[in-house]
């Protein structure tokens, strides 16, 4: 059944993390779901903004919710940070009526208003809970052939509120890739924080956090780490060289978005999934899976 979603790509997905954007669009197209990008969306404010002014940050983020409400659709937000920020705004507006009133007063200046009814969804939630693993499984074209996968959920899709998976031991990625024929390895750090913006402000601390994540994945013999968040992805991938310099290690772990790997399993062409945007070579196993499709 085709369902339409108000697509909120967020700032990172526009360009720097185009692999996530492209693969989300392709996977949803393949599963016959329609994504309508919210016209003229603005930055959600992310975590940075909350530390400055509360009413302002809520109003900035609520503008997007108001735009989606006009479309009458649920929001699809692939970026974990956008997902959490928009959900949190929803929650605060619902629980503190004075804040809701204040935010609406601000939104009125832009000719908008928000009733508080839009649901904010993450693609993993929709894939597993709305479309359902059985339906997705029926579309699989390619077996992942025992590819060893470390599922990295990161913080913001499972915390702070109970969203759509367990907060300490989420299992949706494990189940999804287990069903594709992947070998999902033991990865106890699946919800450990990557440090996020600390990579800019407290670099050494963030390098340590990311080093521990990579180490844990490698100790469990992972061929690839899959992520659900652009910031985790960037920290783990683009800073891997820096981690190697700092800790005298030789990590070379490919990092993929879960939608990219799912796209391969669905038999979608590698190019449409933005696999050419990876910094770290995806390695023989993944390449042969992706290329076998053309043969």
């Amino acid at each position: 059944m085709t369902v339409r979603y108000a697509y909120y790509p967020g700032c990172s997905l526009e360009k720097t993390q185009r692999g996530y954007d492209e693969s989300v669009r392709e996977v949803f197209k393949a599963l016959e779901q329609e994504l309508v990008e919210i016209d003229d969306w603005n930055c959600c404010g992310a975590t940075m903004y909350m530390s400055v002014k509360e009413t302002v940050s809520l109003a900035v983020s609520a503008r997007n919710l108001a735009l989606a409400e006009k479309m009458g659709l649920e929001i699809l937000a692939p970026c974990s940070s956008c997902f959490t920020t928009l959900s949190k705004t929803n929650r605060i507006l619902k629980e503190i009526p004075e804040m809701h009133r204040d935010v609406n007063e601000a939104l009125a200046e832009g000719g908008l208003s928000y009733s508080g009814k839009v649901r904010v969804r993450h693609p993993l939630d929709i894939l597993m809970n709305d479309i359902g693993l059985e339906t997705v499984r029926a579309r699989f074209q390619r077996n992942l052939n025992g590819l060893k996968i470390a599922p990295y959920y990161g913080c913001q899709i499972v915390r702070p509120d109970k969203t759509f998976d367990d907060r300490e031991n989420p299992m949706l990625l494990d189940r999804l890739f287990g069903a594709c024929g992947g070998d999902v390895v033991y990865f106890p750090m699946k919800v450990r924080c990557c440090g996020g913006m600390l990579m800019t402000t407290f670099e050494e601390t963030a390098l340590k956090l990311n080093k521990e994540l990579l180490e844990c994945a490698l100790n469990n013999h992972a061929d690839v780490m899959v992520t659900t968040c652009p910031l985790c992805h960037f920290n783990l991938e683009a800073y891997q060289g820096k981690i190697n310099n700092f800790y005298k290690t030789t990590y070379n772990v490919p990092i993929m978005y879960f939608t990219q790997l799912l796209g391969i399993a669905l038999g979608l062409p590698a190019k449409s999934l933005g696999l050419d945007s990876s910094f770290i070579p995806l390695g023989g196993k993944i390449n042969s899976l992706a290329e076998a499709h053309y043969a």
Binding site: K15, C43, Y49, V52, T201
Partner: protein, 228 residues
């Protein structure tokens, strides 16, 4: 740790009373914020925090210090700026305290009072982030990072050349920021929200010497169970 000098044992100083007022106002805007009263000092937050090892005051100590009337000590710490808001503490707290949001409230208190922080680079980044958002409506990472390092250490910028090159090669580099169409309307929303925010700031607070500890928390709404 510095200790504020009290006029009388157990009485708050003027500065502390001011800080407490701002902080409590910030805490009240957190759903179920009043649960901060329920802290049992078990240390689960500190144990769950992936960065507590790098903090000068642990998350558990933050709450203990606030109760003891030592907010001023917190204002001068670097702890609150290291928090990456991963919410590990919040989900595990047996008393249901929203520690991450409490830390946000502390950050806003520092910003509002204009304290000099031990980690000024975080405020630099936060300010630039806001400027960036205000100018374009969307975040342009390139501009943000360039301006950030121009302010905090220009030589580090050269270290980014290989990364920028890689991003260019993989078509991931947005050279110029893009502005949203309804940029003016967003600015009006923000301006209005700022006005509203100021409404909640009392012009001058009255200083009544108060005992530290739980008593000062009496002003908060009692034990509403919402958000559970």
């Amino acid at each position: 740790m510095e200790h504020a000098t009290h006029q009388l044992p157990g009485l708050m100083t003027r500065t502390e009373a001011d800080l407490r007022e701002i902080f409590l106002r910030q805490v009240e805007s957190i759903p179920a914020g009043e649960r901060i009263k329920r802290c049992i000092q078990c240390g689960t937050c500190t144990g769950s925090c992936p960065v507590s090892y790098a903090m000068d005051i642990s998350p558990r100590q933050l709450i203990a210090l606030f109760r003891a009337g030592e907010l001023e000590t917190i204002m001068r710490s670097r702890s609150i700026w290291i928090c990456a808001s991963c919410y590990a503490c919040t989900t595990r707290c047996p008393s249901g305290i929203k520690i991450t949001d409490v830390i946000y409230a502390l950050k806003r208190t520092v910003m509002e009072k204009g304290y000099e922080s031990k980690a000024p680079q975080v405020q630099v980044l936060a300010k630039l982030f806001v400027d960036n958002l205000m100018s374009y409506g969307r975040l342009h990472e390139g501009t943000l990072i360039r301006k950030y390092y121009m302010k905090t250490g220009i030589f580090k910028l050269f270290g980014f050349i290989p990364l920028v090159k890689k991003m260019y090669e993989t078509k991931r580099l947005a050279l110029f920021p893009k502005r949203i169409k309804e940029h003016r309307s967003l600015s009006r929303i923000v301006k209005k929200a700022q006005e509203i925010e100021m409404r909640h700031v009392p012009e001058k607070s009255e200083y009544l010497p108060e005992f530290v500890g739980y008593r000062g928390l009496g002003v908060m709404k009692l034990e509403s169970r919402k958000g559970e």
